[in-house]
Amino acid sequence: MQRYVVRRIAALAATLVFVSLLVFAVVRVLPGDPALIILGLEANPDSVARVRQELGLDRPMPVQYAQWVGRALRGDLGRSIQYDLPVSTLILTRLTVTLPLTLLAAGLMIGAAIPLGVFAATRHRRWGDYLTMTLSQLGVAVPGFWAGLLLILFFSVHLGWVQAGGFDGWGQGVWPALRSLLMPAAALGLFQFAVLARTTRSAVLEVLREEYVKTARAKGLAERRVLFRHALRNALIPIVTVAGVQLGQLLAGSIILESVFYLPGLGRLTLAAISARDLPVVQGVVLFVASMIVMVNAAVDILYGLLDPRIRYG
C-alpha cells in the first residue's frame, strides 16, 4: 500500500520534471530569442542585451533551466513585462475567476451526468435510454464555446434576462458573482457532461450484470436499494476516474469560455499576454496549468489504486 503510493509520487515527480523541461524547451531551446520576442524584431541591440541579461539569457542553458525551476519551486515564476507584477501574483488573482468557474462546471457536470447515466442504464434499450444517449451525442458534438454563444444569443440578446458576460468580482457578494459564472460554467461543462453520462450508463449497465446484483435481487431487496447500495457503489470507480481526468480538461477548457463571456481569468490573462509579447506570463501560466493537470491525473490514479486493490497489485 505505502509502496504503491510512494512509487506513484516518485513517478509524479519525474513527470513534473518533464513538464518543466517541455515548457523550457519550447521557450528557450527552439529557434527564437525571447528577448527579440519581447522587444520585437526592430529592437536596438543595447536593449536586447539588457533584456537578455535581466532574464539571465546570457548564461548556459542548463544553468538557466536550474535557476528557472528552482525559482518556480519557491513560487517565483518571474515578472510580467506588461503589468510589472510577479507572474505568480497575477495567476493567483485570476484564479479567483478560473477556479470557481472550473469547479462550478464540474459540479453541474457531475450533478447532471450521474443521475442521467443511472436513469439511462435502468431504462436500457427503452425510450429513456435512447433519449439520454441522443442528448449526450449532441453534447459531445456541440463545441462549448458555440454553446456559450447560443446561450448569450438566447438569454441576453433575445430575452434580455442576463448580461452577455463580464464579471464584477466577489466584492459584490457571492450570489451575483456565481450568477455571472453560471452560463459559462454550463457551456464549459456540456461536453464533459455528455462524456460522463455515457461513462456512468455503461459502468452501471456492466455492474447490473454481475452475480452479486442478481443475489441482491434474489434476496428480495427493493430495486432502488439494489441500484444505489450495490450497483452504483461499484460502478463509481470508473466514474470517479473519468470525472477526475475531466477536471483537468475543464480547467483547460475554461480558457476558451472566459473569452466567450469576457471573464477576467487565466485564459484571458494569457491571450492578452500573447498580444503584448509578455512571455514570462505565458510561460508561467502554461507551466502552472500543465502541472495542475498532471497532479490531478496522478491524484486520480492514486485514488483509483486505493479504491481498487486489483490496480495496486496488477
Binding site: 527552439l30 451525442q137 464555446f145 444569443l153 500573447i274 496522478a298
Partner: protein
C-alpha cells in the same frame, strides 16, 4: 453474428453526414456560389436571402461559400493533427513496449507530462513564441493526441512481444526491426485505426476552438471557429452569422462520432450486446 453495415442506423447516418462533408469540401475546391473572399460593403450582415442562402458577414462576404470552404480547413487539420499524434505516439509506444525497462519508464513519464498539455495549452505557448498560425494549431492538437496513441501501441507491443510467433521469428534470426515491423506492428493496427476515427472529430473541435481564440487559422481565410469569433461582435445585428458556422461544426462532429461508433460496433463483436 455481425449485422449488415447497411442496416446499422448509427453507421449509416454517420456515413451519410461524413460523405456530405467530404463532398462539400471537394466541391468547394472548384465551385462556391460566390468568391468566399469577395467583399460587398452594401450587403453586410444580411440574414438568409435567396441570393445569400446563409446570409453575409461583416464585410458582406457570402457565408454559404465561406462555410463550404471552411470544411477543407477542418478536414485538413483533422487529418494532419491526428497523423502527427499517431506517428509520434506509435514510435514512442513501440520503443516503450518492445524494449521495456528504463526506456519504457522514461517514455511513459514523458507521455504523462505531455498529457498535461491539452491542445489549447500547447497552442498558447507556441503562439507566444512563434506567432499564431494554422500550422501551430495542427502541431498543438497533434501533440495532445500523442499520449493515447503511445499507450495503445505500448499495450499491443507488451501483449505480442513474447507470443510464440514473435519468439519463433526471432529464433529464425529476425532482427529487432523485422520483428517490430513485420510481425508485431500489423497486429497493433486495428485499435489504432479505431482510435484515429475517434480522434478525428476531437481534432475538428479543437481546431474550431483555437481558431475562435485567434490561435489557429488567420483571417481572411475561412474557418468555422474563426467565423464564430468574428460573429460574436454582431450577435445582435445578425444572429444567423453565429448559428450557421457553429451548426456546421456540430453536424460534422456528430456525423464523425456516429460513424466511429458504428465502425466500432461493426468491427468488434464484443460490444454487440
Amino acid at each position: 453474428m455481425r449485422s449488415h453495415p447497411g442496416r446499422h442506423v448509427t453507421f449509416v447516418i454517420g456515413l451519410v453526414i461524413t460523405l456530405a462533408l467530404v463532398a462539400t469540401a471537394a466541391v468547394s475546391l472548384v465551385y462556391t456560389p460566390r468568391d468566399p473572399l469577395e467583399m460587398s460593403i452594401a450587403g453586410r450582415l444580411q440574414g438568409p436571402t435567396l441570393a445569400y442562402p446563409l446570409g453575409t458577414d461583416q464585410f458582406g462576404r457570402d457565408l454559404l461559400s465561406r462555410v463550404m470552404r471552411g470544411a477543407i480547413t477542418s478536414i485538413l487539420v483533422g487529418v494532419i493533427a491526428v497523423g502527427i499524434g499517431m506517428l509520434v505516439g506509435v514510435v514512442f509506444g513501440m520503443l516503450s513496449g518492445y524494449f521495456g525497462g528504463w526506456l519504457d519508464e522514461g517514455f511513459m513519464r514523458l507521455v504523462d507530462a505531455v498529457q498535461g498539455f491539452p491542445a489549447i495549452l500547447s497552442a498558447l505557448l507556441l503562439a507566444a513564441v512563434f506567432r499564431p498560425t494554422l500550422t501551430i494549431s495542427m502541431i498543438a492538437i497533434g501533440v495532445a493526441f500523442l499520449p493515447v496513441f503511445a499507450r495503445l501501441t505500448r499495450a499491443s507491443f507488451l501483449e505480442f512481444r513474447d507470443r510464440d510467433f514473435v519468439v519463433a521469428a526471432r529464433a529464425l534470426g529476425a532482427g529487432d526491426g523485422a520483428v517490430i515491423g513485420r510481425h508485431i506492428m500489423p497486429n497493433t493496427l486495428p485499435p489504432l485505426i479505431v482510435q484515429a476515427t475517434i480522434s478525428f472529430p476531437v481534432a475538428i473541435l479543437a481546431e474550431a476552438g483555437l481558431s475562435y481564440l485567434g490561435l489557429g487559422t488567420q483571417p481572411p481565410n475561412p474557418s468555422w471557429g474563426l467565423m464564430l469569433r468574428e460573429a460574436q461582435a454582431f450577435l445582435g445585428l445578425n444572429p444567423w452569422y453565429a448559428i450557421f458556422p457553429g451548426g456546421a461544426i456540430a453536424v460534422t462532429v456528430l456525423g464523425l462520432n456516429l460513424l466511429g461508433d458504428g465502425l466500432r460496433d461493426l468491427l468488434d463483436p464484443k460490444t454487440m450486446a
